[in-house]
Symmetry: C2
Subunit: 244 residues, 2 copies
């Protein structure tokens, strides 16, 4: 059984459309490669009551929770306070983060900068030799910055913490066919292969293919069997290519 | 008081990172321009129990709900069934949509195609002269296809249904400053101007500015007053430009 994960993306700017959200797709791909199923993502405003309620819901229902955003030095950066409230603990100043901040900002450092060293009591700092900026983890919650470049940098460290022994396999069949023509036979094969997930995704303006059928599962055997069953059933002249 | 909205983005492919989500940013911008506050977005898998629970939660707590995805002809297209279940009504075949589908697919039409004409009993079809493909609305829920091109086409029709008398105003100040240097004075001004929302967004690799401070509100007067208060308080040599 794959481990499950959820994401909580925090920020008014995503909901108002001012900022394009850029971390979810990356997170989904990375977790998929690690064999962890991202099952839910919530985008919520900078509202502490909402963040606390969402955190408590997600951390109890999923193996891992990833937050993105709300960890800067300003008044709308509420994530650490919300995590502390959700876990009913205090915020404490991390000497290690304080030292890194003082090294970085030197004489320009302000009290606002130092707020970024305040973390929930009992939180762990994850880092490695290449990556000095630590990722803060509180029990099963990993706290990431919203800035896409930092999110990706910090995720490097996390990969080694999350790597699983089994991972997902995915294969795709690209077709010059309409979804409606193949829907019935796909349903039938989906019923015969309950151990894999079969999805179909139409393309609107792609000259190469009109629909991509994907098969996801744990372990290559089940995925390959379902792909073969689909290829046997689909009209051969509609198949553009198969991708492993 | 602005009307509120929530989005429910449906699809395993978004969560696994196979597909980049492309409708939320567009929806957020369009609603903002209409004076409607998008307060929450959920990305959920193609799981009927989850979709029904999310729909029931969102439709009761927000003025408008927008769904994206899950309206095609295949076995993993569950949105209409979920809407019917959430509203405790039957799915019925829409003669108008059936006619459009038959005109489009002609002799190639299949039972799977025709599933796309099944809508919750009591749903409304919104269309206009330029747009023949109708948008399906069930009470306060608008049901959109996930394909970005279709989502945008169908939204054209909706705009006239949603246009408000008041709309949001947003202004921005671009700064060559670190967030930490300005955090304390921004907090103070945010407290003095509770009728607007002040946000600050750092840029990582932008040569022009390092942080954008935004002020959002209903009505230009309140927004302009807060912008003026910020400009009075911020170090003038750090201000790159102001955008209305």
């Amino acid at each position: 059984m794959a481990q499950s994960a959820a994401a909580l993306i925090i920020g008014n700017e995503i909901l108002s459309g001012k900022t394009q959200e850029k971390n979810l797709n990356f997170l989904g791909q990375e977790l998929f490669a690690l064999g962890i199923a991202l099952k839910r993502a919530i985008i919520c405003p900078d509202d502490i009551e909402v963040i606390v309620a969402d955190l408590n819901d997600l951390r109890k229902n999923y193996d891992w929770v990833f937050t993105s955003g709300g960890v800067g030095p300003t008044h709308d950066d509420l994530t650490m306070t919300a995590i502390a409230r959700a876990f009913e603990c205090r915020l404490v100043r991390s000497p290690e983060i304080e030292r890194l901040l003082r090294e970085h900002y030197k004489s320009r450092i302000t009290d606002s900068h130092l707020r970024m060293a305040d973390i929930p009591e009992g939180a762990r700092l994850l880092s490695n030799t290449e990556m000095r900026l630590p990722t803060v983890a509180m029990k099963n919650v990993f706290i990431f910055p919203g800035i896409p470049e930092l999110f990706r940098l910090e995720f490097q460290v996390l990969r080694q913490h999350l790597r699983q022994t089994t991972s997902f396999k995915t294969s795709s069949i690209f077709l010059q066919a309409d979804e409606g023509e193949i829907a019935a036979l796909m349903s039938e094969i989906a019923l015969q292969h309950p151990e894999v997930a079969i999805g179909s995704y139409p393309e609107w303006n792609n000259p190469e293919y009109r629909v991509k059928v994907t098969v996801d599962g744990q372990g290559a055997v089940a995925v390959n069997q379902a792909i073969q069953a689909l290829l046997n059933a689909l009209p051969a002249d509609k198949v553009v290519r198969v991708e492993d």
